[in-house]
């Protein structure tokens, strides 16, 4: 679980020496003067400049004098230091040493404020506003402008979520440049001209970008605000805590701002190695899910007489849970994929040491034994690829992965590499999506189910990077092909806790630290390292996967289940799952009431990430530790709750807190013995049937982690079915007309869109209006039928 140093060889940097305000400084060639000046301690005021955006030189706030450009001749006019590259021998005089530069800056500042309202007291940006701050530090205090200011009706919604107060805008174009350069979503643009110039949208196309919230954060004034946060808090009343986002496996650094126990907003943190300064809108706006009315606050135990869940004391509930599990005979453990590594570790130890079983599987989604073997052999302990590698690799192949929807930071990094001309992206997919077009990706058009062959056919080499998505578990042979590939490999799950759960050994054949269940030495290691009274050995028998666990319950081989954060409708067969949950003695550790808690015998409320500390392990294998943001009395971690049950069962885990778990995990360390072999499953080819389903979940969808954010949800991409013209025609469906995909389990209807898919393939979103898994028992590579209508169309 340690991150290896980047394999990149360090290219020697050519240094250039220049003089700024009389101080000699050496900086890498190509450095802009504005940043070189920071190294000598001079902060040149700026607005349009942003280190991650291309220089534009628009605001003219950063003017400096250059008496010598390095060739013995100076510039006759002040120069914008944000667009001027250093040169050897250059002499720069900033506002510190040049009266001309100082006057130019004061003059520009005065002009910037000419049309800027004096509404700082009611502006969201007030208190954290670069314009306000720099007007104080570099302005002249009073304006001579006594004339008429430009005004606009306000606010102007560029999307449901992002509002624009045009009179505050200083036209630095950071937002439009971000949208075009970084996100590739130029749905906002500068419109009009001159003093009427403003940020605008198309007449009928709002700013629906997965990354739109970043524009709010980089706006140097209060022009862009979120509908969510507008007028709700003052920056100086907020307590800011660095954290890590929980919505995907990127491990994005975020900053959580709260006031009086309530999170008011989330911002992108600054982590150059991971998410740079960006996050997805999901990571930014979807933070109210844990504050919904269905939040569990007290333990519940099912009353044997009424059959209802009734509030119970913690001690009582833990006792009922312990007794029930003890009485259940064999018990399976389903931790889910949204846990911290520490919580997953607790489940892992709880299963082995307390319950004496390897029947544990974190995968709350479609999965396979091939995948389990792949995770054990090829993913655990491995850190072959980093974010930085993505923007430098000559070729990155995506297989069963749609980064814009499933791992937004991977998408942005790839786009950065592609735009710089360094990286070429190849996608093994059913079609080119909006996201893959923005990566200028080369499509290897592949019928779902045929990915294994596509990977094998690509002739990958050791310089290539192969990123595989979690839905390849649905394609027999695909992960075997990936494991056999010489390319640098990374597995990119959707959920934040999946990778950590792999490292914690929350799998039927894998123990903590990448140890195989099959290894007696590995088991002995762990028994010694994690002493639990009365436990002399950990079970040697390989366990069951989630699907088998649920089936084992239904046939009576298992009598109990310990379930973490699992959504029934995400599971391979929700009906089987419901049967099993009904039949077994179920202990559910959950944040909010769910289909699992509805069927559980004991419900033990646990803390959402914002109320606890812990570690998410990113897809890179990078541990992303975060501290607790909100201190909520009685909000317990899964670690603490499992420890409580274990103690009631007379087999104390030996750790109760996240910190203790961390210490123990470090003590256990990574396995250095022989690893389980990689899977060698043969490709099965696409499913039988006329039409095969290609599907994944869009970033903004109906997932419960996004509950409570209607405005954010309103920015979702429309839910449509995509298929080739021939496929639609064969089914008698016109472009734009309602189309229905169906299985024996059920059906879903969306408007049809002709797109460039292989014939006989249809794409639909996984959980936008309809959860395909729940409604159709269908997933990627399933055979479905396609037919016209009916008129009832799902509006996502």
């Amino acid at each position: 679980m340690t991150l290896e140093a980047s394999q990149e060889t360090q290219v020697p940097v050519e240094l250039v020496t220049l003089t700024i305000d009389g101080v000699e400084v050496s900086v890498p060639k190509g450095t802009l003067v504005i940043r070189a000046a920071e190294l000598v301690g001079t902060e040149i005021p700026r607005f349009c400049d942003h280190p991650l955006l291309e220089p534009v030189g628009a605001c003219r706030q950063c003017l400096v004098q250059v008496p010598d450009a390095g060739n013995g001749r100076g510039f006759p006019k002040p120069q914008a230091s944000c667009t001027l590259e250093v040169a050897a021998g250059m002499v720069v005089e900033t506002q510190v040493t040049s009266a001309v530069a100082a006057k130019a800056q004061v003059g520009t500042m005065e002009l910037l404020l000419v049309n800027h309202p004096l509404d700082c007291p009611v502006c969201d940006k007030g208190g954290e506003c670069p314009l306000q701050n720099q007007a104080m530090s570099h302005g002249q205090g009073e304006t001579r402008f006594a004339e008429t200011k430009r005004t606009f009706p306000k606010p102007y919604p560029v999307s449901e979520q992002v509002l624009l107060d045009r009179e505050r805008c200083v036209l630095c174009a950071r937002c439009t440049r971000f949208s075009e350069q970084i996100a590739g979503d130029p749905f906002i643009a500068l419109v009009e001209r001159g003093a009427q110039q403003q940020v605008g949208i198309g007449p009928e196309t709002p700013f629906h970008s997965y990354f739109s919230g970043n524009t709010i954060q980089i706006c140097p004034v209060g022009a862009l605000t979120s509908a969510d946060y507008r007028f709700r808090a003052r920056p100086f009343d907020l307590v800011s805590t660095p954290s890590v986002a929980e919505h995907d496996s990127s491990g994005s650094a975020i900053r959580v701002d709260h006031r009086r126990g309530k999170v008011m907003r989330r911002l992108a943190g600054d982590d150059p190695e991971v998410n740079e300064e960006w996050i997805t809108d999901k990571d930014r706006f979807a933070f109210t899910w844990s504050e919904q009315p269905d939040r569990l606050r007290t333990p519940l135990v099912r009353d044997p007489e009424s059959g209802e869940l009734v509030p119970t004391s913690w001690l009582g509930a833990l006792a009922v849970a312990a007794r029930g599990l003890a009485a259940a005979g064999s018990v399976g453990v389903l931790p889910g994929g949204r846990l911290t590594a520490e919580d997953a570790f607790a489940y892992s130890v709880f299963a082995r040491a307390v319950l004496g079983t390897n029947d544990i599987d974190f995968r709350a989604r479609a999965h396979s034994y091939e995948e389990a073997a792949f995770l054990a052999s090829t993913v655990a302990l491995r850190s072959d690829v980093t974010f930085t590698d993505l923007e430098r690799a000559p070729r990155v192949v995506l297989a069963g992965l749609e980064p814009e929807d499933e791992a937004g930071m991977i998408f942005l990094r790839l786009r950065k590499g592609v735009r710089a001309g360094r990286t070429r992206v190849v996608t093994i997919a059913s079609h080119l999506t909006r996201g893959s077009r923005k990566l200028d990706a080369q499509l290897v058009a592949t019928r779902p189910g045929d990915e294994a062959r596509a990977i094998a056919d690509l002739d990958l080499g050791p310089a290539d990077i192969l990123l595989v998505g979690e839905r390849l578990a649905l394609v027999p042979g695909a992960l075997s092909a990936a494991a056999a590939s010489p390319a640098r490999l990374a597995w990119v799950p959707r959920r934040a806790g999946d990778r950590g759960a792999v490292e914690a050994g929350a799998l039927p054949t894998l123990l903590p630290g990448g140890r195989p269940v099959s290894s007696a030495a590995a088991r002995a290691d762990l028994v010694a390292a994690i002493p639990v009274p009365g436990v002399a050995a950990w079970p040697a028998e390989p366990g069951r996967g989630l699907e088998a666990i649920l089936e084992a319950v239904t046939v009576g081989e298992l009598g109990g289940l310990v379930v973490g954060g699992v959504e029934v409708d995400d599971l391979p067969d929700p009906e089987v799952a419901r049967d099993a949950l009904e039949k077994a003695f179920v202990v559910s550790l959950e944040v909010r009431a769910s289909d699992v808690t509805a069927l559980a015998d004991v419900v033990l409320p646990v803390a959402p990430p914002v109320e606890k500390s812990g570690t998410f392990v990113s897809w890179e294998g990078r541990p992303r530790r975060f501290g607790r943001v909100l201190d909520v009395a009685g909000s317990l971690t899964d670690v603490r709750v499992l420890a409580g049950i274990a103690e009631e069962m007379g087999r104390p885990l030996g750790f109760r807190s996240t910190d203790e778990a961390t210490a123990l995990m470090q003590q256990v360390g990574p396995w250095d013995g022989e690893r389980a072999p990689a899977p060698t499953v043969s490709p099965a080819g696409p499913a039988e049937g006329a039409v095969v389903l290609s599907t994944w979940r869009q970033l903004v969808d109906d997932g419960r982690g996004q509950d409570g954010q209607a405005l954010y949800r309103a920015t979702a991409r429309p839910a449509v079915i995509r298929a080739s013209a021939a496929t639609l025609a064969a089914a008698g469906i016109e472009d734009g007309a309602p189309a229905t995909i169906a299985t024996r389990a059920g059906s879903a209807t969306f408007p049809a869109v002709v797109d460039d898919l292989p014939d006989g393939v249809v794409w639909a979103p996984g959980n936008s209006g309809v959860n395909l898994r729940a409604a159709l028992s269908a997933d990627h590579a399933s055979a479905v039928t396609l037919k016209p209508g009916p008129s009832q169309v799902v509006q996502a």
Binding site: V56, G57, R60, T108, L112, R150, G194, Q197
Partner: protein
């Protein structure tokens, strides 16, 4: 000594159907092209370089030198890229009115120049970016390009030389800023016409990020005569550093406004004398040497040689040689306000000093024009100009300050009077009109 007026570009403007290929060829048109196809590209570049031709669009940069900047080394990435020639026919500078009549009367002069220039820089594609508000000029250019292609002057085998030159006539859509060459390029790429950062310079990364030459209409139209006449002939007109002939555009309160093609270095006094002086009863008050972006001059500058050096020495710029002449009936405050309103309207909005500065300047000037000027307004105007000049992204902001600072320099008392009385009372507008109401009927 050459004659006072030397019509070369305007020589055929009075000809019957001068815009047609037939009429143009009858006057020796396309003979220069026939000569040029016998020269190597580098020989043409050298010829134009040696002729001393300087850009006629305002900056006066040596045209041949500009062509020589185009990277031609096939060993380099830039050298391998396609090259483009773009003619700046976006004539929009207030007062400037030379290119439009040229293109209307004799579009083939320009087209011939385009073909020669394109061959010189090894461009196979050329564009004439003409402002959109001159419909008939657009018609004439399109027809000329069509006729030239029909005659084999344009196309894949120019006069059998094996060289390719295609020409696209591209109409703009109303934006003064597109006369700025990098804004023009963005506009020609289908974008908002806002200026680009330099470097990279257009010679290396211009249109489609490829090496590009951008020349004014008159500069390119001068090329055929230079090819035909040779460098000594060209240099026999004009001055040591400002060689050749050029179009001077006289407008305003003069007896005979119009186009006067003369060797560089003629004076306003000479030009006025040719046309019968000021209009009746008129005394020269102020004038622009080269459009509104060039600082105003006054009667004391009547004998300034109208070449790049002479006008520069007088504290202004030759610019486009757009001589807007105003007499004693004219309120300089009113004129300066109107020019400033123009710059405000045409500011592209990209940079702060120009966008906000012109917004502010207009408001200050409006109250002075209305007789409601305040104590300190003149100093405010001058200080604002100081904060705009040289601080803006491109030269539009600089140009906006020229009329203001020069007008205050020469007519400060009129601005002071603006604290007491409106300009329309001090200088009744009717008196300045072409047909003064009391005169006309």
């Amino acid at each position: 000594m050459t004659d006072t007026l030397t019509p070369v570009l305007s020589r055929n403007w009075g000809d019957d159907r001068a815009w047609t290929r037939e009429a143009y060829e009858a006057q020796g048109g396309y003979d220069a092209l026939r000569k040029a196809v016998t020269l190597t590209p580098d020989e043409i570049v050298t010829l134009v370089k040696d002729s001393g031709l300087r850009g006629r669009g305002g900056a006066g940069f040596p045209t041949g030198m500009k062509w020589g900047f185009i990277p031609q080394d096939p060993e380099t990435e830039a050298g391998r890229k396609p090259k483009y020639l773009v003619v700046n026919a976006d004539e929009s500078e207030p007062g400037t009115c030379k290119d439009i009549p040229l293109m209307m009367a004799s579009p083939h002069t320009l087209v011939e120049g385009v073909i020669i220039a394109a061959m010189a820089i090894r461009a196979e594609k050329a564009f004439i970016y003409v402002r959109g508000e001159v419909l008939h000029v657009v018609r004439r250019l399109r027809a000329a390009a069509r006729e030239a292609a029909e005659a084999g002057y344009l196309g894949t085998d120019v006069l059998g030389s094996g060289r390719t030159v295609d020409l696209v006539i591209h109409a703009g859509a109303g934006a003064y800023i597109c006369g700025e060459e990098t804004a023009l390029l963005d506009s020609l790429e289908g974008r908002r016409g806002q200026p680009r950062l330099r470097p990279p310079f257009p010679a290396v990364e211009g249109l489609y990020a490829s090496p590009t030459v951008i020349n004014n209409v008159e500069s390119i139209a001068s090329v055929p005569s230079i090819v035909s006449g040779g460098i000594e002939w060209f240099g026999s007109m004009g001055t040591e550093k400002s060689k050749g002939y050029t179009l001077y555009s006289l407008s305003g309160h003069v007896a005979r406004p119009g186009q006067y093609e003369a060797p560089l270095g003629i004076t306003l006094r000479e030009l006025l004398e040719l046309g019968g002086g000021m209009r009746e009863g008129s005394r020269l008050k102020f004038w622009t040497p080269g459009g509104s972006s060039t600082p105003l001059l006054t009667a004391e500058h009547l004998d300034v040689p109208l070449d790049y050096e002479g006008v520069g020495a007088a504290g202004s710029m030759l610019g486009t040689k757009a001589l807007q002449v105003f007499d004693q009936t004219t309120s300089v405050v009113r004129c300066v306000l109107r020019w400033t309103e123009f710059y405000k309207h045409e500011s592209c909005g990209k940079c702060t000093p120009c966008r906000e500065g012109t917004w502010w300047l207009v408001q200050v000037l409006q109250r002075i024009d209305a007789g409601q000027g305040r104590e300190g307004d003149i100093e405010l105007l001058l200080d604002l100009c100081d904060n705009i000049l040289g601080r803006s992204f491109c030269a539009l902001g600089d140009g906006a300050t020229s009329p203001i600072t020069s007008a205050i320099q020469y007519f400060r008392d009129e601005f002071e009077a603006g604290m007491l009385a409106p300009s329309r009372e001090l200088y009744p507008p009717e008196a300045s009109m072409l047909q003064r109401p009391e005169v006309a009927r």
